[in-house]
Amino acid sequence: MSAAVTSTGWLSNPRNVALAALFAVAFSLAVAIGVYNRGAFPGSGPGGVGDAVRQGVNQGLNGINALGETVAGLFGSRSPGERAQGTLANMKQRRGQALHQRALPKVRRGPSAAIVGASPVPPAAAPLYNVVTDVPKTGVPGTPIGFTPTPGGPGGFLGLTPSPGGGGIFVPPPVTIAPPETPTTPTTPTTPVTPTAPVPEPASWIMMLVGFLVMGSMLRRRPRAALLSPS
């Protein structure tokens, strides 16, 4: 690029050394990943060097897994572990209106009542169901409020043409009586949606990396005086 590359004193600058190290790391990483994926370099077909590398890597991993490992160990390595003791009594999360449902007695078929000969349930017993006691409101029209005419001025109280002095008949707006509310059946609660994973997508990572690079390069390009000046 420039003549500074060929000069021997280029590496004497520690900043350049760090830059070169970063360069080397990035380059080797890219080459290694590209070889492993074999897709980054279109020239190498199946059976090429990437295939061999990938197979070697996979075999190495499998070898580590499979060599001295028992099957129980293989299962154990993928297990999240035994369930913690504290959660053992934890059932499914109680949902909004589940209490209403669970108050129902368990209905069992069979001649249990006949065998036991139990007396029939007295009619005054508590209801078997949690009855939703939502009494519909009766549609009694309320008395219209706000009918307080203010007598005032020379205008007549019953005058159809109110004088500009004020007063007159205050006609209340028509009050519409709302129909009585019908008790709605409780809707079944939907299962909660699992939240998305907090790990960003690779595209987001790349975008973030690019952003950092741009910020860093802009900061580095800007003259130091501009950074340090008070305004």
Binding site: M1, S2, A4, V5, N16, L19, A20, L22, F23, A26, A30, I33, G34, N37, R38, G39, A40, Q55, N58, L61, N62, N65, A66, E69, T70, V71, A72, L74, F75, G76, S77, R78, S79, P80, G81, E82, R83, A84, T87, L88, A89, N90, M91, K92, Q93, A98, T188, T191, P192, T194, P202, A203, W205, I206, L209, V210, L213, G216, S217, R220
Partner: protein
């Protein structure tokens, strides 16, 4: 020089990220000549596809320790512990054959085998202390894609019924600290795949939790 170097380094970082991003699809099955440690008896040579093939000694040890109750040829390559809600499914090039399901309550795992090869695994949730999941050898009694539990008033998609009192394998919200009323809950997508693969009569082996846990009932 300096800005140029930064630019090159940035481009290379980008290249590395892109190379990571563009993952090749899983390699196709390649017949492997070197898998001679594979247990003899199968007609075809085992393909080398990243699966973990069990050696004869491993299989014997597993059978002796009751980890497995029948021969298994290969397991899925699962690296590291699965998390709740995770699953793996790969039945590519696995031949048709009898399907059976292994449910390990202690390890909180389910494994689906077809023709001796594991084709799916996942983390499960299972019955709580007062509603234990039964252990033993069960069979799928019925399949119901859109089952709705009349007992619990809850949707149980992709239900594979196991017992006559309602224990089943079905799609569920698999999370840490959850327990069921006896069913085996698996992630929904896994349940869908399992539902498509399984049929009535297939065997389900449920390995109960070891006797360490206190029995409250």
């Amino acid at each position: 020089m300096k800005p140029g170097g930064i630019a090159i380094a940035g481009v290379l970082l980008l290249l590395a990220g892109a190379a990571l991003w563009i993952r090749q699809p899983e390699p196709a099955f390649v017949a492997d000549r070197a898998a001679s440690n594979f247990q003899s008896g199968s007609q075809t040579a085992p393909p080398k596809d990243g699966r973990v093939y069990l050696s004869g000694a491993q299989l014997e040890q597993a059978l002796a320790s009751k980890t497995l109750d029948r021969p298994v040829k290969s397991l899925l390559p699962v690296r590291g512990p699965l998390h709740f809600g995770d699953y793996q499914w790969n039945d590519r090039a696995v031949p048709e054959g009898p399907l059976w399901i292994r449910v390990d309550l202690g390890a909180q795992l389910i494994s689906v085998f077809r023709a001796g090869h594991e084709i799916g695994t996942s983390v499960i949730v299972y019955g709580g202390d007062n509603k234990r999941t039964p252990g033993g050898r069960l069979h799928i009694l019925s399949r119901d894609k859109d089952h709705r539990s009349s007992i619990y008033d809850a949707d149980m998609p992709y239900t594979l019924q196991l017992t006559y009192d309602g224990v089943a394998i079905h799609g569920s919200d698999v999370r840490t600290g959850r327990a069921t009323h006896g069913c085996v809950g698996v992630p929904l997508e896994f349940a869908q795949r399992l539902f498509d693969a399984a049929k009535v009569g297939d065997e389900v082996v449920i390995i109960p939790v070891s006797a360490k846990a206190p029995v409250t009932t």
